[in-house]
Amino acid sequence: MIELDAVSRSFNGRQVVSDLSFQVQKGEVLGFLGPNGAGKSTTMKMITGFLAPSAGHIQVAGINVAQSPVAVKMQMGYLPEGAPLYTDMEVGSFLKFIADIRQLRGIHRQKRLDEVVQQMELGAVWYQPIGTLSKGFIRRVGIAQALLHDPNILILDEPTDGLDPNQKHHVRQLIQELSHNKLIIVSTHILEEVSAVCNRAIIIHQGKKIIDDTPQALESRSRYYRAVSLRFDSHVDSGPIVSTLRHHAALGEIEQDHDHHVRVLSIDGQSILPTITELIRQHNWPVIDAYVERGRLEDVFRALTIEGADPNVLSASLHNKKVEVA
């Protein structure tokens, strides 16, 4: 449904997005990740037709964005970065304006306005000028504006930025509810969000795509993937236990946060819990907690996007590692 073909964009000779290609289908929730300035927003601006690519083509639902921008814009809902809105307008008149421009008419127009106001909980601020609202409300008006015409395609640039934890949860839930019959692209730098709502993640760094995978597969690239954390009773001397673990051939590195908390890493993403439970049973260790970690996206993200690292080399090495695991 959305197809980017070798898309590049430069500003004043500075390459912001280079040779980016990917396809997204209906039903996918694509998490767009990358450090600040990686080219996430620029890519979204090109998909929505705000910016023209310097090179390459973008097709949305079979329509070339550069050739028929209006037709493409009709099918899309877009929340720009920072949710810029007309601050002098009241929430109600702003949403009515969007409804008109989005060609909503009559009963359907009223129905959609009611639905969106309910979904984003905007009833209480209907008559308030947008400029007087809190950051969270402004973001919600921005999302409401993007949802109003019930578009097939939703492009949300940092939708949960500035929301409190409850509101974040609410928006994530909303994205999940919408996802079954839409194509959604969400940019974020909150990695937990990717695990929570996305079924696909693309990491871009210095304008290049370096990863395109499921969040689960990304987690499996973490060194902490399937690591087992153990917490001991505080009276116990953990020294002998650690030494036993360290010398066991089937277990990876041992990390010790403090005396009574030990993390055992897995080797090549193998499940090590059975081995460790067996050891606990054998030696009768006084373990209070034992749990398996999922892998940390932060870790993977950092490894891939560290300042000055060459994304090509990193992606190549990661690819190899993945082959090993498989």
Binding site: G62, I63, K73, Y78, P84, Y86, I101, R102
Partner: protein, 254 residues
Amino acid sequence: MSESTMVSTFPRRQLWYLFKKEFHGFFLTPVAYVFTVIFLVLSMVFTFYLGNFFDRGQADLIPFFNFHPWLYLFFIPSLSMSLWALERQMGTIELLMTLPITKWQGVLSKFLAAWAFSGIVLVLTFPIWITVDYLGSVDHGVVLSSYVGSWLLAGTFLAIGCCVSVLTKNQIVAFLMTVLICFLFMVSDFPIVLDVFSEMPQSVVDFVVSLSMLQHFQAISKGVLALQDVLYFCLMIAVWLTATVILLEWKKAE
């Protein structure tokens, strides 16, 4: 692809919806009210005090319309400075230009809303027309022609202001640049402008002279609504708005 068949209708009435939003926008801030009151007060003050309206003993509105170009020189840029500069500064240009509208619809709606507003303010000066008619018999044709000329002049200033407003995110810069450009076009038949072109061929100088807004406005306000003067203003508006659309594509991303 099956999705492409869903887009059968082209969005309609977009210009009207945009115009409505822009026009209401003037009244959401004190701008419209301050503008109207000060414009009306100043135009009367200028007419009666500087224009010697009564001493002349003539039943016409020449002193009234003579001051319009000079009033517009400062009033119109204050109306046009925010049109695009504010959109760019606030980032709302991204919201606006990703709605299903064309660039022309965006540019025209802002221009037309501001032009309509300036037209309403102009209409609100009607008491002076009634006053003159009460004091003596006035040539209504001349007055009407002058009003049309004045509105066209305002439109031209606005079109210039639109274009300058796209070029900057700073409203003050937009204001001052618009004042300057409008001033140069107003007096392009004065030595102040012509001296720059003194070394040029006569045809260039003639062309520059022919661009003088003041000349065309004065021709119309004498009561001769000649086609060439009306055409001049329409052409100026068209050229500056076209430039706005072109510059918008170039500047919107910055």
